[in-house]
């Protein structure tokens, strides 16, 4: 049996900003139908890597293949397969929630009627009904995350690339997002998400990659990477703990 084409394959991705090498050669194969977690300390190059994998940042060298299609060579074929939730909370925030989803749908070339149906479905599924007529700029951080996720889902992509999808999201909404993503994977889709929360990655993902200093430190199935340890311990072991654990004694309030 031949190995199926991976959902996303990164080959030798590199990016340098001035003197800093943000991504120093990343090779990663993300199998179809997997829930893939990308973890790493702040500044490890996660966002830069995901930006290069989704067409937002030109790599200095290397390739990103979506279901075998080179994203930078054939964007018109590759991009429709991908739904993206980038880092940060900025969108066209002078549109209302419904308008933003409609906009994302139309940009994906969908028919108006389809856009209308899916928009209403997504607003309901993500509990955003009341937010449909509010400008996105007036949303809370969690609501903005949810509306951006709705925009990433509207064209029913095959691969979802999500940068910190659960950041600033309340537990109830997080539950809703989790259910949507798990159903998406169960139906044959692939999710790649970056996160700082190890417990969440352990709970959701079947695969994980640890990124540090612009390189892949470990990658594979969750159990392979954990190697019998807690993911958090393994993570700290791989990237190294804070070297100077200074005691901030002045921060303590004395009771007398």
């Amino acid at each position: 049996m031949s190995t199926p084409t991976p959902a996303l394959e990164l080959r030798g991705l590199r990016k340098r900003f001035g003197a800093t090498e943000a991504v120093a050669g990343i090779d990663l194969t993300i199998p179809t139908h997997s829930f893939y977690g990308v973890v790493g300390p702040n500044g490890a190059g996660k966002t830069t890597t995901l930006s290069m994998a989704t067409g937002l940042l030109t790599p200095d060298s290397g390739q990103a293949l979506v279901h075998g299609i080179d994203l930078w060579a054939e964007p018109a074929r590759a991009k429709p397969l991908v739904g993206v939730l980038p880092d940060g909370l900025h969108t066209f925030d002078r549109l209302t929630g419904s308008e933003l989803i409609s906009y994302a749908g139309l940009m994906r070339g969908m028919a108006k009627e389809t856009v209308r149906e899916r928009r209403d479905d997504l607003l309901a599924a993500l509990d955003l009904d009341s937010a449909g007529s509010t400008l996105v700029t007036d949303f809370s951080a969690g609501m903005t995350k949810k509306i951006a996720l709705a925009c990433a889902l509207v064209h029913a992509p095959r691969v979802l690339v999500l940068d910190e999808p659960f950041e600033a999201v309340d537990p109830v909404s997080a539950g809703a997002i989790r259910r949507i993503l798990q159903a998406f994977v169960a139906s044959g889709g692939t999710v790649i998400m970056s996160s700082h929360v190890m417990a969440l990655v352990e709970r959701l993902c079947d695969h994980v990659a640890v990124v540090g200093g612009g390189r892949i430190l470990a990658a594979g199935t969750l159990d392979d990477v954990r190697a019998g340890q807690d993911l958090e311990d393994r993570f700290v072991g791989l990237v190294g703990d804070t070297s100077d654990q200074r005691d901030l004694s002045w921060l303590r309030h004395s009771s007398d």
Binding site: L57, T91, E99, M107
Partner: protein
């Protein structure tokens, strides 16, 4: 706190200059250019010293008026000039407006333009040195107060306008007052030039000067004149008036800072829209041969919402009227130009609109990713953007053309004028589309003050503005030649101008959008970095 804020400001500037050294060249160039003007000012004050006191007063009052009005109005018209520390950024520090005020004031005065104007007015105050020493002292005090009113007044104008454009109700008020100001300038220009330029200089200017000398605009520089004329009370109350104005402006600025600290402008103010304007405006109802693809219609719909609600777009749409209005109500009568020159006004309006879009893409800096990840949509994005401009710009320039035709009564020139105007609009929009993809620079983010610019973005904007202006100036004659021939050689050229103008306009718009779209597709991976 003063030292802290000044240090902060210069650290920000220094970091910017370190990252992009050529900005330092522009900054130094600007400073050197200002310095080369000082000898001219020195010569002017020597000459002023030999003029009779009343003539001297009139001249400095008129000069002060031009400078004060310039300081207050130019930052509102030409966006991106304002680079003082934005008080809103201090909101999280928990400092009071009163604490910030001295430092922000100092940093407003320690800029190249503010220092330059301070030097100019101090040098000019030497024009009173042949009179009694007391008059010289009065002149220096008056000069300092005048420049202070200029600089602080500019801060207040920017703060209030920012607040006004972010609120729908006061926005109407703001635009009404701008309209009123334009009418007043027009009336003043008309009164001044009613009897010709020379008569105006002899009679209207001294009268106007006398009135302006009683207002906080000209009172400061008029005070020494009053002193020399023996009107001690007149000199004193003028200085007091200036000082009181300055106190009032400082108070207004403090209020504005306090307001900014507790009212972040990036919020939408609880505005709601029940109907989905994107879906309704991206209508499928257009005839099939005319209907653009869904992404183009989506971008157009989004931009139409921006043109109706986003302060940055609205300020730009109002600002484009400045050049044609100044030409029509000031330049034309002063130079006593033939009425046919009036036809330049709609052409100027068209080129202002077109050129004004030269950094269009950067206005979406924070959300550009959404267009980019959706596919290979460069052409859709650029066509959609230009179509949204054309929706209001074509009627606007046609209305201006009809207005000028009615004013001159030369309806026979209508075809040529319409051709030249539409041609100019299309071609300049096309050039700007290319520039906004090839040479984008950082613009005010959504919700930020539409008048503000990030410290140091001035350099990048100068390069892009220079290139797009030169390209516009080179193309303009080509578009307008048949029309000019119709006015000067033979009226038959008019119809030719209509055909070539409309053809070039459509070609420029379509070609510019398509070329810019292809470039956009090639640059997608670098665009976000270029604008944020």
């Amino acid at each position: 706190m003063v030292a802290t804020l000044l240090r902060l400001k210069y650290t920000v500037v220094a970091h910017q200059l370190q990252r992009e050294w050529w900005r330092a060249l522009l900054l130094i160039g600007g400073a050197v250019w200002s310095l080369t003007l000082i000898p001219l000012v020195w010569w002017a004050q020597t000459w002023l010293g030999f003029q009779p006191a009343d003539v001297r007063t009139t001249i400095v009052v008129i000069l002060a008026t031009v400078c004060v009005v310039g300081w207050w109005v130019v930052p509102l018209m030409v966006t991106g000039l304002e680079d003082t520390l934005d008080p809103g950024k201090f909101a999280t520090w928990g400092v009071k407006a009163r604490t910030l005020l001295p430092g922000l004031t100092a940093s407003a005065f320690l800029t190249v333009p503010a220092l330059f104007f301070m030097i100019v007015f101090l040098v000019l105050s030497r024009g009173w040195r042949y009179d009694e020493p007391a008059a010289q002292v009065v002149a220096v005090i008056g000069a300092v107060l005048t420049v202070a009113v200029m600089v602080v007044g500019a801060r207040v104008c920017v703060a209030w306008s920012t607040r006004a454009v972010n609120n729908r109700r006061s926005r109407t008020l703001l635009f009404l007052s701008i309209g009123l100001a334009v009418v007043m300038v027009g009336v003043a220009g008309w009164a001044f030039l009613r009897d010709g330029l020379e008569a105006g200089l002899e009679t209207t200017v001294p009268v106007a000067g006398e009135w302006l000398a009683r207002t906080p605009i000209g009172a400061g520089v008029a005070a020494p004149g009053a002193w020399v004329a023996g009107d001690i009370t007149g000199a004193v109350w003028r200085l007091v008036l200036m000082a009181a104005t300055l106190v009032l402006l400082m108070w207004a600025w403090k209020r504005a800072i306090a307001y900014t600290l507790t009212h972040p402008v990036y919020r939408g103010g609880g505005r709601r829209r029940r109907t989905d304007a994107v879906l309704t405006r991206a209508s499928d109802a257009e005839p099939a041969w005319w209907r653009a693809d869904a992404p183009t219609r989506a971008v157009r719909a989004r931009l139409l919402i921006s043109w109706a609600t986003d302060a940055r777009y609205i300020v730009n749409a109002v600002g484009v009227a400045a050049l044609p209005v100044v030409f029509f109500v000031l330049v034309m009568p002063i130079l006593e130009l033939d009425p046919r020159w009036g036809f330049a006004a709609p052409v100027l309006l068209a080129s202002s609109i077109g050129w004004g879009r030269h950094n269009d893409v950067a206005l979406d800096s924070t959300a550009l990713w959404m267009d980019i990840v959706s596919g290979k949509h460069g052409r859709a994005v650029m066509h959609g953007r230009l179509q949204a401009v054309a929706v209001w710009a074509v009627p606007a320039v046609l209305l201006a053309a009809i207005g000028v035709l009615a004013w001159t009564g030369r309806w026979a020139d209508a075809p040529g004028l319409v051709g030249a105007t539409l041609g100019t609009l299309g071609v300049t929009l096309g050039i700007s589309a290319l520039s906004s993809v090839a040479l984008p620079y950082r613009a005010a983010a959504p919700g930020e003050s539409p008048f503000g610019a990030e410290v140091g973005s001035l350099g990048a904007s100068v390069a892009a503005q220079l290139v797009s202006s030169i390209a516009t100036l080179m193309v303009l004659p080509l578009v307008t030649v048949p029309f000019i021939l119709s006015l000067t050689v033979h009226a038959g050229w008019g119809w030719m101008a209509l055909v070539t103008g409309v053809a070039m306009g459509v070609a420029g718009l379509w070609g510019g959008a398509s070329a810019a779209g292809s470039l956009y597709n090639r640059r997608t991976g670098a665009l976000i970095g270029a604008v944020s």
